[in-house]
């Protein structure tokens, strides 16, 4: 029983990272109606910048704020420069643009900061929480920050006019223009927000997986899985999905024989696929009712 609880908590802790990533993914999805495969790399790059700022003497929170702000700006720029020209192209061509961005960021990070693993500090410390053996303070911090982000986003989207405008622009750009919404700015804002959230995820995860150019690959994948599982229309669903993926992955690795570390990822994905078969719009996604 103790082992189960431990693994669930550990799963939740990992899940917090995936949840954060899933949140960024759903943000972008709500803004531009498809997935950004380079999300993880953008987060990784920004985390490296935070690290570099700290190397140059900036305190943790200073570096945190600056890199989040910079990534917001970068997100907006990437939308304007990269995404805008291919917007009219078929969706699969846009996919290639994302793959290209992925490649550029990954390779550049490797070139600038090389591939040796670096350690990354955390403001929460690594002591066991409340002296117990379940999770440590950093993991608790991750869960806390993710929950806070989610709350802020919920309030933003449901409670503010700007949030409503963004949702409208993503849902139906032409109609949004007809009510006076500047759809281009809404998309750019969505990109900026997604980039910023991704950076938070990166900075939170770096102390755990250590900083190196490929650190976000697994996280991105689990983040996608969490977002899809939760249903891509719902930030709350994405976060829950992320946590669920974390727990599933951990429990599968620990308790199912033969699986172990080797097939953990596969099993998690298979489980998600099975869930999707029964609930094709994800666990919390709203299936859109539309007239033929």
């Amino acid at each position: 029983m103790e082992l189960l609880l431990q693994q669930v908590m550990a799963g939740l802790a990992n899940g917090a990272i995936y949840a954060c990533m899933a949140l960024a993914i759903v943000m972008i999805f709500q803004a531009i109606d498809h997935l950004n495969f380079a999300q993880g790399e953008m987060a990784m790059f920004a985390t490296f910048i935070a690290w570099q700022l700290m190397q140059w003497g900036l305190p943790y929170w200073g570096a945190f704020v600056i890199s989040v702000a910079l990534s917001f700006v970068a997100g907006v720029l990437i939308d304007r420069v990269l995404f805008r020209p291919v917007q009219k192209a078929p969706i699969l061509s846009q996919l290639v643009a994302f793959i290209a961005l992925f490649s550029i960021l990954n390779s550049s990070a490797g070139q600038i900061w090389d591939y040796t693993i670096k350690s990354f500090p955390t403001p929460f410390g690594h002591h066991p929480l409340f002296g117990g053996t379940l999770i440590d303070t950093h993991e608790a911090g991750m869960i806390g920050v993710t929950a806070l982000l989610l709350a802020l986003l919920y309030v933003f989207f449901r409670g503010t006019r700007l949030g409503l405008a963004m949702r409208a622009a993503a849902a139906n750009p032409e109609s949004a223009r007809l009510v006076g919404i500047r759809v281009g700015w809404m998309t750019a804002l969505g990109w900026g927000m997604a980039a910023a959230i991704g950076t938070v995820a990166g900075i939170l995860v770096a102390p755990v997986v250590f900083l190196e150019p490929n650190m976000m690959l697994g996280v991105l994948l689990y983040g996608f899985a969490g977002a899809v599982l939760g249903g891509l229309s719902s930030p709350g669903g994405a976060v829950l999905g992320g946590f669920a993926v974390g727990v599933m992955e951990n429990l599968a690795g620990t308790f199912i024989p033969y699986v172990g570390q080797e097939l953990k990822l596969t099993l998690a994905l298979v489980m998600i696929t099975v869930v999707l078969m029964f609930r094709p719009s994800g666990l919390f996604g709203r299936s859109v009712v539309s007239r033929v």
Partner: protein
């Protein structure tokens, strides 16, 4: 003169859809664009809203607006209820209405206007928290008009408001449109296939045929002309 259009040509890619179209509309007037399928009626509305490539002159309050972005035309007070209604299907009825007022700032007035829409369209009030996509065709049309009214527009562009609706609902809708025009003085330019209803509501009509204006006359004149009615309007 609020809206003046002259020498308007419009293009979809390489294909020309409008040839030298001209008409005008002043505050408070209700006019209608009639014609067969493919005549270019929808294209005229889209031209005003910057949704197609155009040549020629479009003036609003004397200001040239041809080629302006849709969002900017909207801010002049032009509300367009497009073909297919353009409802935000995934959002609630109330959210759809709030979106109509996106360019306005006064919260109190916006709230009042939402109430006014519910008075005009009681069925929407019943369903105000429902997902817009679950509404019937008639209700979605009313929602679309309601949303357009939330702009407090000076000009309301309506593209085939009767499309796909049962006759009783259409009559109800047109009666509401008449009342709105009388109470608020909003001008209306209505594209319609149902010529009879449109000619009852409007005071002036333009008849389009393959992209050209072939008739420009008061509504009663158009409605009384038997040969026009039989060849173009089907009754």
């Amino acid at each position: 003169m609020m809206l003046e259009v002259s020498g308007l040509s419009a293009f979809y890619g390489q294909n020309q859809a409008l040839y030298d179209v001209g008409f005008s509309l002043d505050d408070g007037q209700v006019r209608t664009l009639l014609g067969a399928n493919g005549a270019g009626k929808t294209t005229v509305l889209r031209s005003i809203c910057g949704m197609v490539r155009v040549n020629g002159e479009i003036r609003f309050d004397g200001k040239p607006i041809a080629g302006w972005a849709t969002e900017d035309v909207v801010r002049l007070g032009v509300a367009h209820v497009p073909e297919g209604r353009g409802t935000f299907l995934r959002l609630s009825v109330e959210e759809n209405l709030q979106l109509g007022a996106m360019t306005r700032k006064n919260r109190r007035e916006i709230a009042e206007d939402i109430e006014r829409v519910y008075v005009n369209f009681p069925r929407l009030k019943e369903r105000h928290a429902q997902q817009a996509g679950t509404l019937s065709g008639g209700e979605q049309q009313m929602l679309a008009v309601g949303r357009a009214l939330m702009l407090r527009p000076r000009l309301l562009l309506l593209d085939e408001p009767s499309f796909g609706l049962a006759p009783l609902i259409v009559e109800e809708l047109f009666a509401i449109l008449r009342r709105i025009n009388e109470e608020t003085g909003v001008a209306m330019l209505i594209v319609e296939q149902n010529a009879m209803l449109a000619l009852e509501l409007a005071e002036h009509a333009y008849l389009l045929e393959t992209g050209r204006v072939v008739m420009d006359a008061p509504a009663d004149v158009v409605g009384a002309d038997e040969s026009i009615r039989r060849s173009y309007l089907g009754y």
